[in-house]
């Protein structure tokens, strides 16, 4: 039990349905409906499903970017789902997120130094400016970008480099768990391979735990120790990559696998 960094039980995120003409309440939209799973420390749990299956909402609900309707989110055994936003702040340091679109997730008007310093200013207010700058340079190096790039702006980087900057920003506050929401799906295959390798290297060096959300089954198979398959807000199947890919039990998983063009 203590091996599980994150334990999610009965998680639901429902959005109110549109009221009809008579102002009667419509059925709520169940984006995530009563799902439970665990993320063991130091491991990667892959979450696959189609658009609209609720996989992104699940990731966002864990870091309070989506409202929780029901359920428990235990982090190191403590329920973080019930915390207010301000009480949650110390946990934000532990749980970071990497987003899909490297073009839209970095402030275009800020240079890389201020993008990377911002989380440090919030979570490590005692740090001096020199310390922060040194830390940002170190962060860039850890994602294999030259430290001289600190003064540049996001538009000067390619998609893959921007995603590295997104990773560096997540690493800034020394998190334990990183929720990667489609981190490589907007990238070229060759860049995708580099970013996937980088994420795996960082996991090894820093002992990180990942919740890896993606729709590309081959990538999820490659990175994951355990795979969850989501459809229509529910987890329909879970298991090791070998179990899910070698012997899928659910019709939905089979459809998903059959749709992947092979070569």
């Amino acid at each position: 039990m203590s091996d599980n960094l994150l334990e999610v039980t009965g998680l639901s995120v429902h959005y109110p349905g549109r009221a009809n003409w008579f102002f009667q309440k419509a059925e709520p939209k169940k984006a995530v409906d009563n799902i439970s799973f665990v993320v063991p420390k130091g491991k990667t749990v892959g979450l696959v499903g189609e658009s609209g299956s609720g996989k992104t909402t699940t990731g966002r609900a864990i870091v309070k970017l989506a409202p929780l309707t029901a359920g428990k989110i235990l982090y190191h055994g403590q329920d973080i789902g019930v915390l207010s936003n301000s009480d949650f702040l110390p946990w934000r340091k532990k749980i970071q997120m990497i987003f899909q679109d490297p073009y839209n997730s970095l402030n275009p008007r800020a240079d890389i130094l201020s993008i990377l310093s911002e989380p440090l200013e919030i979570h490590f207010p005692q740090m001096t400016r020199e310390d922060r700058e040194a830390r940002c340079a170190e962060l860039l190096r850890s994602v294999q970008l030259p430290a001289e790039h600190l003064r540049r702006h996001p538009h000067e980087f390619s998609g893959g480099q921007r995603q590295r900057i997104g990773i560096a920003r997540a690493l800034a506050v020394q998190p334990e768990l990183i929720i990667c929401d489609e981190p490589v799906s907007a990238l070229d295959v060759s860049v995708q391979a580099e970013v996937v390798n980088l994420l795996q290297d960082l996991q090894e060096q820093l002992g990180l735990t990942y919740l890896f959300i993606a729709h590309d089954l081959a990538v999820v198979e490659h990175v994951s120790d355990h795979i969850l398959v989501m459809s229509k807000g529910k987890i329909v199947e879970h298991g090791t990559p070998a179990e899910i890919l070698g012997n899928p039990q659910q019709a939905y998983t089979k459809t998903l696998l059959a749709a992947v063009p092979r070569f």
Binding site: G159, D188, V189, S190, A193, A218, L256, P261, F263
Partner: protein, 285 residues
């Protein structure tokens, strides 16, 4: 559709180059691109962002900024007729009429303020003035891409449709003018695998039924292996390798093609680490 089946291929591109000029700087986006496409054939063009694959496809009908910011050279022959140097009026008939395009993000390619039916009808009215009942033609073309309830969809706006439905509507629009060649620029990159399969199955059927040629721009080798006849690999603006699908999937002669195929994770073949491109193969930017 092709009364004279001579040795002349449907599309013959020779030594096509595209150069962009910004201030004093010149950027060669595509250089010496040559290929042939027969009727009913599918050519896949592979490469990374910045390899020139989209630019060279847009250059076929000069869907690029005007001179002097963008210079084209080379030859593009459609059924023996040279397209380079045609007037805008004549090119406008080719665009959509003989060579139609569909793009990666259907959501941004469709006009948000007009209904789907209006947009398809516009294309039909422009390219096929002989069609009397444009509305019926619109409904027919939506039905052809397997849209259930085409009457309803014709009256909907793009934002009311899902990504897969939007892409179907785009395909319906492209096909409404009976093009000989469809240029599909990453048509499924933004879609889920199951929707991707539906769209690719749809394109395969349309090609079979209509004998339409397709230029498929993609970086998904799975799709290429299952769908294309020929492959051209682009790297830094040039075609570095081309051949039949069987040939390229079996043995790759250019190191870039080898490396590109090697870095793709494959289902059921778990490796400890993914292969990446070596520095000299990376498209430098």
């Amino acid at each position: 559709m092709l009364p004279t089946m001579s040795a002349e291929p449907l599309l013959k591109v020779q030594d096509l180059s595209v150069t962009f000029r910004t201030g004093d700087r010149e950027t060669v986006a595509a250089q010496g691109v040559s290929y042939e496409l027969a009727a009913g054939e599918v050519l896949a063009v592979v490469g990374e962002s910045g390899s020139g694959k989209s630019v060279s496809a847009l250059a076929l009908t000069r869907l690029l900024p005007p001179e002097p910011s963008c210079a084209l050279s080379g030859s593009v022959k459609l059924a023996g007729v040279e397209l380079m140097g045609l007037t805008e009026d004549k090119l406008a008939k080719v665009r959509g009429g003989s060579i139609a395009y569909i793009f990666q993000e259907p959501g941004t390619s469709l006009n948000p303020v007009y209904t789907i039916g209006f947009q398809i009808g516009e294309a039909v009215a422009l390219h096929r003035p002989d069609v009397k009942d444009v509305k019926a033609e619109v409904i027919r073309s939506l039905a052809e891409v397997h849209i259930n309830d085409p009457e309803r969809v014709a009256n909907q706006y793009p934002h009311e449709l899902s990504g897969g439905m939007q892409q179907r509507a785009m395909i319906a629009m492209a096909l409404a003018c009976n093009p000989q060649i469809l240029v599909a620029d990453e048509p499924t990159t933004a879609l889920d695998v199951t929707i991707q399969k539906e769209i690719m199955d749809l394109l395969a059927r349309l090609r079979r039924e209509r004998g339409m040629s397709i230029v498929l721009i993609t970086h998904n080798f799975g799709i290429i292996a299952n769908f294309a006849d020929k492959v051209a690999v682009m790297w830094k603006g040039r075609i570095v390798e081309s051949g039949s699908v069987e040939q390229i999937m079996r043995t790759q002669s250019h190191p870039y093609t080898k490396a590109l195929i090697a870095c793709i994770p494959r289902l059921g073949q778990r490796r400890r680490r993914l292969t990446t491109l070596s520095d000299e193969l990376k498209v430098s930017r």
